[in-house]
Each structure stands twice: as structure tokens, then as C-alpha cells.
Symmetry: C2
Subunit: 689 residues, 2 copies
């Protein structure tokens, strides 16, 4: 057994009884969720380093947005100085160094998403893109960004009037052969690049996507350019640019999102990221003869890196929120019999409200950890030029997986955080509970890196192609095997609910089989609806828009849940024996709790009928809630970061709820004493009533 | 026709096409939703008064919480000075003056809930309670609060360790006959009164609920006391009290929620609110011989006033959020064919995401307006001593209605606001979109005045009593008629889905019949589950806890939706002819969209089976979305307050989305220019790359 003494023990306290009832060691579960002891050690090293540094001390009161930006920038600088990403890691394999970057990102995300997102955009994503879209001449920028941290950059894609639809973007980069420069121009405010993280006040360079136009007037579509925007020593904006900050947002106010307008702004020809295409000095556009597998790998990485990051961050946000709510549920007592009050966690309704999300926190984490390894190994192989069978098919499948998983995870986590807030009652509404901040900072993930409703449609495109192949008797292009079951489409579609006892539902078999049936039925429904609309004379575009509600949208959601199920159960099978009972129970709960949301489709499609299916499914869910009650405080311990990082008065590991609350309330500088503005506040001169 | 020229016209702009497609005049709909032209005029008067007063100018940036408290207090004082609640209204009938107070509250709520909640708690609720719990000797406090605005008060009930369970509260008021005083004492921090709005920094009196103990040591339970806590002229806290502020919250930070601990703090005997019971000078506890109907009316008012207020405020929050999202949906174009971009509102998925909530905004408003009148007339009659048949039954029914309606409305509105935020994409995440603030400020309504999950259980108690009466062949106690249909329990339970065409679903009959069936089935399910648990040997308390999930909780939700349906359709029937077509369509959409969430129960209980029920229901919903598309911008106009009050860059009535966005971004003081902290932000001395 590995030495886990680097994980601090939890102090004794009122939650001891619930901890004693767990069937497993929470530190073993924590390690198991991380998947790698070195990465877990790195996380604790980061958490403990931040805890010791006063620059990272928590504030009782949200500072004004300008101050939040300042602190976030200073914290990012300090993290750069700590060099958690070492020169040695920099020289390691792609998978290894990327896992390290991901782990640092996750650790910082648990502390404060503004800092991690600022870092992820300005350092990780930009340097990745430089490596994959650029060539040798851009390596110095790559090293300056990721290794030496001399550059903080940004990525400028979205325009004021165009978000998801990249084709219609209007910022141009026109090549001028007389000076060998690109001239970048923004026709009007509607074409200003916007939402650019780090651009508002801090970055010195931006990775700009603009329509490349050659001197002959031909538009070659969106290309990437590295554009200097501020003087690194003075942070003064260069002439020819208008840069502004987007102002206050619902969350992540430490990030200076900005907009930018270019007025015939010139950059050297070499700043075009020219891996796939270049413009000669004379202004001729040339596609590069590059290794096609590398291009695919690069495309995959650029499409997916940010979204995989959101999946990982979502796992950490739900972990923190659920840990807070579970510990609170075990400490807070309300109502009871004969004046013996009962902890909230004993109430079935409270279990049902929280445990489904707790199981999601575990299943998502197992899924994302497993998926990340597969994803990295494919990108690594393709980057290395190694031959990968079915690479383009694998890229398509991974893109579909990421598109719907980013969507489903980020939405489920948003719901989870909200439920956790409500489950903590009024105290959940306090800033010092931290659930509000977790929520506000998680909130943008459902919109950025592809709006969830738009992004998930892309997974549907891929799924329907595979469905058509299957029903036409052709091979399904599913190198990762996520829809390999479609070859059995006919036999799966004939299946029906036949359980007579809840024990039959609490099985891997029932859950995966039911999901397969659901996917088959939803594919058929979606396909038929789409075809019917086309037959009515609608264009493909419009037919697709008429197939979203109840079909396409549900299909991609169910596919994402199915992925979480398949990849997490794969992972559970390899875990140590002591952990399996609790992991399987959590898995069953997640599976059945998720299926509960699709009972209508199971009835409508005739998988089940009458009373029994819903009754057994729901009984099984409530049974699992009861069986898991004694495990949940230890599950919370395995999910939670350190108390300092969790930073919640309700979620402290010692469980001394009211003492902690008193300390928090009493230590706020504005708690006691008359308001400084009392003179203005007095109602009016009056007699004492 | 009434002269509606006091409602400002909407400027011409890009939304004109959608406005022209509406079948009705939006001002007529607005009046119809308000129900009373004088109240609508009062609202516009308030909105226009605030718009002209620089004290109410909006801020681009959220101020620090201390500053928010200061501004909120000054705004409340200013509103008091404007005397929107006139001395004349003060002398009007109970119904009339209460409607005026409610309207003022709604108007201010649309501007900023911190101000309205501060006012509602500190002035309206307190003065109501003084009137209904107190006697003649408390009238001077009543007038000082509501009429002269000399007192800003608060209500202290919840304790640190006890929220919903009033029985176990531990703050005591022990009568001392030697000084004819009550001695108020807080045994420890866990018994501190907390969450008390206005207590943190501003109020001078609190209406305290404490266990009344007579000299013989008998505890007579919770009683109300008016307790002076701060000197009105200096706002200094009186000796013997520890008062603190609860600190920063997720929203409504303009309200100074506070906690208080009493150290043998003495108040005169006369400060007991003694309508129902008093303590003699010698210390003998005496129930008052008061008119029992008045007591019931008072109890009803005290239980319900805050919750009815939340229902009204919820209607205004959803109206604002939906108006913003609908106007944005009509202005924002994305994707399309042949580069002709299509407004979001044209997409079926977008319609489906928003229109259900838009219909809820209309139906809720009609329901609450209708219900409020019934509620006020019953309270008024009972207060006046007039004989009301079945008063105690009516009080029980109204309490059940309010308990589940406050719950269902506040939750649905929270979901609506979230959906509106997401439907506005990234721009919805900007503070200047205002949806984030609407959400944060609405958020506490699901917790306060009774946590939704706990409060709704009370409606279930009442419903199950009526069910048992019905199945035992006894009379149902439903003076308002909300469950009068239970007398036909057997015939309703035998009904089944028999439609063959969507037109049959788009009827009042189908929707109400289906709801009645659902209620009957859920009552039976809940009752049987509860009885089964009792039979197993569980206590009533525990049996109830085991009947919540999928039963009790669903039952009360369905009952609340049914109430909205019954009372709104009653109201629609009386509306002017021009408005009926759109109102019925909105009603059908709300009804079917709500039933869609209960399809599982409709299948499980055998109301319908196989494909047809879900298919027709969902087809009907999508048909209604299509039919309502041309109406929705005008529906938004009818729901929205003035542009100043709505205060959303995305929701301005002119529809000039990008110009408004540019103005908003450019007018923020921190948009342009180098950060004042740029020296700290520079990465490190480096060459220009």
C-alpha cells in the first residue's frame, strides 16, 4: 500500500460516528479517484503552498471587480514563480507533461477558478495552440509562454455579433506584399473580438483568428495569428488598437475579459501560425504539405483541450459543493421525535436530494480520469507521427464524446451546486459557505467553449451518422467502441423491462442494457423526425432545427450519461477490493438516478409499461440512498480538498458547525459596531418610542 | 376603453416586425395583468419618480456590501419621503390599503429587491403583526411604523440552531413581577436570533418571538414582544444586547441581516403583544377572551402575508427575466441558410426553452392577482368581525394553497431566470444584462418564509386530510373549492387518456381533467405509502419522512400547478375579447408544459400507455410554441417594467442590441485605459518578443 501520510488526517469531532460507519478508508478512495499518487502529491503540495502564502489568504468580502482582477493577476504571477510545472516536466512526454498541467489547473481551480482559468487560457491553451498550429518559428513564443512565463496571452475568436458561427466572422487579416505584413482590421463594433480572457487589462499577446485575405482578394477563411497587443514592460496598448474590458460579470471577475478592435493594424508575415497553410512573401496562399495525422491530432487537441479542461474543472466544482452539503447534512439537526433532533442526512428526502449528485461527483471523476488517459494517448500517438488505426474516425468519436460530455457535466454540476446551496438552507446563502461563489464561477462553463445547446448538437451529427451506417448494415466508425453496440440494434430494440425485484436493477447489466435501448430508441426517433421534416420539403438545416426538442437534445444527453457509465464502470473494475462495494453502490445510484429522468422515453418507446418499471426503479434509488447513508461523510472526505482550499464555514472537516459559524461571523470586520454611515441612516428626529 | 397614455410608448426599432405580428395591444394586456388601472398608474408613478431621482441611478459595478447597505437604507428613506402610501390610503379599507402596499412593494421590487424586502419586513410585515398580534396599546407603534415611518423594525424568529422548528427555540422572556418587566435571555450562541433582516445595522425595534415564562416557571410557548434595540437618534445598540451583521450573502446585500443575543435584557410588560394572551402585573398568564374569528384572521395574515408577498415578487422577477430573454431572442441572430442569419426566437429549441416560462409568467400573474383578492377579502371579513362561513376551514385551505404556491412559484421562477440567463449566452453573464442580479436576489425566496421543502409538506398534511374525508364518504373541507372535485374521486380515477389529436389537448377541459386525475392518483399513492410505513411500525413522524420522495413532494407541486391553472383560467374568462386568444394559448402552453413534467406519473398510474400520450402532449407543446412566436415580443412588452427599471442592456425595448451593448461597455469607467496596478501586473523584465 502506498504511504498516504502526506494527506492530512481529519480532526475528531461530531462527524466521527458517520465516519466510523463507512466501509472504506477515505484516503484510499481519494487516491483512487485521482488515479496517480504523484499527481495527488502535486495537488497537496500546491494546496499547502497556497495556504502558507498570505497572498492567497481568503477574503470575507468580495472585493470590487478591479481589485479582484489585481489580486488574480498577482496570484497567477506567484504561481508562475512557484514553478509547480518544472523544467523537468516540460521535457517529459506529451501525456506526462499534459497530465501535470491538468493537475495544476485542477488544484488551482479548487482554490479559485478565476486564477485557474486565467492560467489555462493565457498559458496552457495558447501554448498548446502555438505548438499545434504554428511551426518552428513560433517555438520561442511557446517557450516564453509555458516554460519561462514571460508572456501572458489570450485567444480572440468570438465577435460581438457572432459567437458559435465561425464562418461569418468579419475580422480580416489582409496580406500586404509591399511590407510583408498582415493588415488586421475590424470593420465595426459588431466585428470586435470580445469575451477574450486576459485581454481586458493584462495580456501582451493575443492569438487572433481572422479571415485571411491574399492580395488577389481571395478569402481563405479563419487562420490563427499571434498578435502583440501591449508593451510587455509598460502594459501600454499599441497604437492602432482599441482594447476595452467587458466589465463586471456574474462570476470569475478575477478574469479581465476584453474586447478589441483593430484599425489597419500591421503584424509581420511570420506571425501567421503556418502549420497547415502559409502565405509566401509575394502573397501566394499555399497549403503546407504536412503530416496529415499530425494535423488531425492538432485539430483534435485544439477543439477539445479547453472542453476537457471544463470537464475536469466541473468534477472539482461538484466535489467541493457536494462535500460541503454532505458535511452540513451530517452536522445540522432539525426536527425529530420526543425533542431528539435528527441530522438532515437521516431524512430520505434530503438523501435523495443530495446523494444522486454525490454519486455523479464520483462517477464523473472516474469517467473523466479514464477518458483523459485515452484522449491523451491518442493525441500523443498522432502528434508523434506514429500510425494510429482509424485516426480520423477516433477524432470524430472523441469530438462527439467531448461535445456532449462537456455539456452534460457542466449542466449537471450547475444543478448539483444549486441543490447543495438549497440543502444548506439559509446558511448556504452566506458568502462564507462558499457555495454561491462555486456556483457563480462554474456558471460560465455552460456557455463558453461552445454554448451547451449548440455544442451538443455536434455529438448528434456524429451519432446519427453511426446510426445510419448501422441500420444500413455498414460498419460503425467507433474505434473507442462507444456505439459499437449499434451492430446489435435490432436485438437491443426488441428488449423490454422484465425485472420483478429491485435487486435486478442494481446491476451493471441492467443499467447499461437500458441505456443501450434508450440510445437505440432515441436514434430512431431523432432520425425519423429529421427525415419526416426533410420529406415535408424542409432543408437539412431547418429539418435539423425541428428535430432538437425531445429528440436530438435528449439523445446527446443520454449518450453523455452512457459514456460516464461505461467508462466509470471500466475503471471501478480495476479498483482495489476494499473500495469496490461503495463504488458499485454509487455507480448504481448514479445509473438509476439518471435513468429516472428518462422514464418517459422508456414508457413512450414501450420498454416498460404500467406501474412496475417506475416503481422498482424509484424504490431501488431510495434503497441505495439508505444503504449509502453511512458512507457519505467519508465519500465527502474523499471528494473534498483541504479545509483551507474548500474555504467553507459549513464544510469544515471537523464538523463543529456552530463554533465555526460563530468564528466566521465574529471575525468579519463589519460584524459589530455602528455603521459608519449611521448619521444618514437615522429615520428622522423623533421621540424615543 | 381606459386611457392608457400614462404608459410610455415603445420606440420604433428592429423588433417592430415581431410587434406587428401580435394579435393584441400590449398595453391592454399589461393592464389586464395588473387588474386595476389605479394600481398600474401607481406603479408607473413610482417607476418614473425613481428614474428622475439621482439617488436611484444604477451602478455599473456592484459596490462593496457596506456601501450597498448604505445606499439601500438611503433609498428606503427616500421612498418613505415620497409618501407613495398616502394618509388617505392609510384610512381606506383593509383590502384597498393592503393592495396599495402590495403594489408599492412590487414596483420597488422590480427596481431592487433589497429595497423592497427591507421595506416589506421593516414596515409592512411588522406593522401588520403589531395590528394583528397587539392591542390598542401598540397602535402608536403601528402608526409610527406604517404611517409616519419613524420606526424601521425587524422580526426575530429563527435561531442559529433552529430554523423551521419553532417549538425548540430557546430564547426566553421571563416575567419579573417585582419590576413588571420581561427579562429576555439568550442561553448561548446557538440560540441567538439570526437572519433578522434590518437588524444588522439599521433597525431600532425588533418584533421578537421568545418562550414566555411566568414566575411559576411555566413555559407558555412562543409569544411576540416588541423590543427596542437601538437608540433611534444615534443608532447605538442598547446595553445588554450583542448585535452583529451576518456578513456578505449571495444576493440582497442591501439588507443588513443580523443576529442578536440578549443578556438578561429587560423590557416593559406592555411590550408583550397581547391580543391572544397576556400576563397580569402579578405574573399570571391569561388567555384573552377575544373574538375567535378575528384571531383566525390574524393567524392567517401572519402566516401568509410574507409568503403572498414572495408570490407577488416572484411574478415580477420572472416577468423581468423573461422580458429580457425574449427581446434578446428576437434581436440576436445566429446561423441560418445562405448566410441569412435567423433570430434565435425562430428556433424551435429556443422557443421551447423560453416560451414555457413566458407562459408561466402570465399564468402565475393571473393566478396571484386573482388569489390575492380572494385572500384579502377573507382576511378583511374575519378582521371586521363579520361572520364568515367555514372560516377555520378557509384558513386551512388558504394556508395549504400559500404553502405550496410560494414553493412552486419561487422554484419555477428560479429555473426560469437561469434558463433566461443561458438563453442570452455569454451576454447573459454580464452584470449589465441584469439577469445575474435578478437571480441572486430571487434566490433566497426558496429558503426564507419557510424552506420550500419543509413548507410544502404542510400543504400535503391538509390535502391528505381532505383525501381521507373524501374516500370515507365525508364532506371535503374546501370552502374555496380547490379540492371539491374529490367528491368525484372514483369517477375521476377511472378516467384515461383518450385523445387522438393535439387539438383535443389544447383545451381547458383536458388540462384540468388530467390534473384532477393526477391529484387523485398522487393522493392515493401518498396515502398508501404513508399507511404502509405506519403498518410496518413506524411512528407518524417517520412514516411521513418516508413518504416524501416521489409522493408527498410531487403531490404538493402538482396541487400548486393545479391552483395556478384553475385560478388563472377563471381570470381569463373575464378578460376582454381581444386578449382571450393569446391568453388561452399561453394558458394551454403552461398547462401542457407543466403536465409534461408529470408524464411518468401519468404512465405509471395507467392514465395513458404506449407512444400516443407523450407524443401528442409534446407535439401540442411544440405547436403552441410555433403559434405563439409572433406574440412573444408583445408579451414581453406587457410583462416588462420601464427600461430604466428593467435596467438590462439586452432587454431594452428599442431592440438595438449592439448599439446598447456598445454604449454600456464604453460607459463603464474601467473599460479603457491601463490598470492602475499595472506595475505589479508586468510579468518580469524582458525583451520585446
Amino acid at each position: 500500500m502506498e504511504d498516504l501520510s502526506f494527506i492530512p488526517d481529519i480532526p475528531c469531532g461530531p462527524l466521527g460516528e458517520y465516519r466510523n460507519s463507512a466501509t472504506f478508508n477515505w484516503k484510499r478512495l481519494k487516491l483512487s479517484l485521482e488515479g496517480d499518487i504523484e499527481l495527488l502529491k502535486l495537488k497537496y503540495k500546491i494546496w499547502q503552498t497556497l495556504e502558507r502564502d498570505p497572498l492567497f489568504a481568503h477574503s470575507n468580502v468580495t472585493p470590487p471587480v478591479e481589485e479582484e482582477k489585481r489580486i488574480t493577476q498577482l496570484q497567477l504571477k506567484r504561481i508562475n514563480e512557484y514553478k509547480f510545472y518544472t523544467a523537468e516536466t516540460f521535457r517529459a512526454s506529451y501525456s506526462k507533461r499534459t497530465r501535470a498541467l491538468m493537475t495544476i489547473n485542477e488544484a488551482v481551480n479548487s482554490y479559485n477558478p478565476s486564477v485557474s482559468v486565467k492560467m489555462a487560457i493565457g498559458i496552457y491553451l495558447v501554448s498548446n495552440a502555438l505548438l499545434s498550429l504554428g511551426t518552428e518559428r513560433h517555438l520561442k513564443f511557446y517557450e516564453a509562454t509555458i516554460l519561462n512565463r514571460e508572456i501572458l496571452a489570450s485567444i480572440a475568436l468570438t465577435e460581438i455579433a457572432h459567437g458559435s458561427d465561425a464562418k461569418l466572422m468579419r475580422t480580416t487579416a489582409t496580406y500586404d506584399p509591399s511590407t510583408r505584413q498582415f493588415v488586421i482590421h475590424t470593420p465595426d463594433f459588431e466585428a470586435a473580438k470580445c469575451w477574450v480572457g486576459n485581454l481586458g487589462k493584462t495580456c501582451t499577446h493575443t492569438l487572433l483568428f481572422a479571415q485571411l485575405i491574399t492580395p488577389d482578394g481571395t478569402n481563405h477563411g479563419l487562420h490563427g495569428f499571434l498578435v502583440p497587443v501591449r508593451h510587455p514592460a509598460t502594459l501600454e496598448v499599441y497604437p492602432g488598437l482599441i482594447i476595452g474590458d467587458m466589465g463586471e460579470k456574474i462570476g470569475v471577475n478575477g478574469i479581465d475579459n476584453g474586447f478589441i478592435m483593430f484599425n489597419h493594424y500591421r503584424i509581420p508575415r511570420e506571425n501567421l501560425l503556418n502549420r497547415t497553410a502559409d502565405v509566401t512573401e509575394d502573397g501566394v496562399y499555399e497549403s503546407s504539405f504536412s503530416d496529415p495525422s499530425r494535423i488531425l491530432g492538432a485539430a483534435l487537441e485544439n477543439l477539445s483541450a479547453g472542453r476537457v479542461g471544463i470537464m475536469q474543472e466541473s468534477c472539482h466544482s461538484i466535489a467541493s459543493a457536494v462535500a460541503i452539503a454532505l458535511r452540513y447534512a451530517a452536522s445540522r439537526r432539525q426536527f425529530g421525535e420526543r425533542d431528539r433532533e435528527i441530522p438532515l442526512i437521516e431524512y430520505e428526502l434530503h438523501q435523495w436530494r443530495l446523494f444522486g449528485y454525490a454519486s455523479a461527483a464520483i462517477v464523473f471523476r472516474l469517467y473523466v480520469e479514464n477518458f483523459t488517459n485515452i484522449y491523451l494517448s491518442i493525441v500523443e500517438k498522432s502528434n508523434s507521427g506514429e500510425r494510429v488505426d482509424n485516426l480520423s474516425e477516433a477524432v470524430g468519436e472523441i469530438h462527439a464524446m467531448v461535445s456532449c460530455s462537456k455539456t452534460t457535466l457542466s449542466w449537471t454540476v450547475l444543478e448539483a451546486i444549486q441543490q447543495c446551496r438549497e440543502a444548506c438552507g439559509g446558511y448556504g446563502f452566506l458568502k462564507c459557505a462558499r457555495i454561491g461563489d462555486i456556483r457563480s464561477n462554474h456558471e460560465p462553463t455552460v456557455t463558453y467553449e461552445g454554448d451547451n445547446n449548440v455544442l451538443s448538437q455536434q455529438a448528434g451529427n456524429w451519432l446519427l451518422r453511426q446510426y445510419q451506417a448501422a441500420i444500413n448494415g455498414n460498419t460503425v466508425d467507433s474505434p473507442l467502441g462507444t456505439v459499437a453496440f449499434l451492430k446489435d440494434y435490432n436485438s437491443i430494440s426488441r428488449k423490454a423491462f422484465s425485472c420483478t425485484d429491485t435487486s435486478q436493477l442494481k446491476t451493471v447489466q441492467f443499467i447499461t442494457d437500458t441505456y443501450k435501448w434508450l440510445l437505440c430508441w432515441l436514434l430512431k426517433e431523432t432520425h425519423e423526425k429529421y427525415e419526416a421534416e426533410v420529406t415535408k420539403g424542409l432543408s437539412k438545416f431547418l429539418a435539423k432545427t425541428k428535430s432538437q426538442v425531445y429528440r436530438w437534445k435528449t439523445l446527446t444527453r443520454v449518450y453523455a450519461e452512457y459514456l460516464a457509465i461505461v467508462f466509470s464502470v471500466q475503471s471501478i473494475a480495476k479498483k482495489e477490493r476494499e473500495l469496490k462495494p461503495v463504488l458499485y453502490k454509487l455507480f448504481y445510484l448514479y445509473g438509476l438516478w439518471s435513468l429516472d429522468k428518462h422514464l418517459v422515453e422508456l414508457y413512450q418507446g414501450g420498454y416498460g409499461k404500467g406501474d412496475l418499471m417506475a416503481r422498482l426503479l424509484r424504490d431501488a434509488i431510495l434503497e441505495l440512498c439508505g444503504e449509502l447513508k453511512g458512507e457519505m461523510v467519508s465519500v465527502a472526505d474523499a471528494l473534498a480538498p483541504t479545509d483551507f482550499i474548500l474555504n467553507s464555514v459549513l464544510g469544515k472537516s471537523d464538523g463543529n458547525l456552530y463554533q465555526n459559524l460563530q468564528t466566521a461571523l465574529f471575525s468579519n470586520p463589519d460584524t459589530f459596531g455602528r455603521a459608519s454611515w449611521w448619521r444618514e441612516a437615522v429615520a428622522r428626529p423623533q421621540a424615543k418610542l
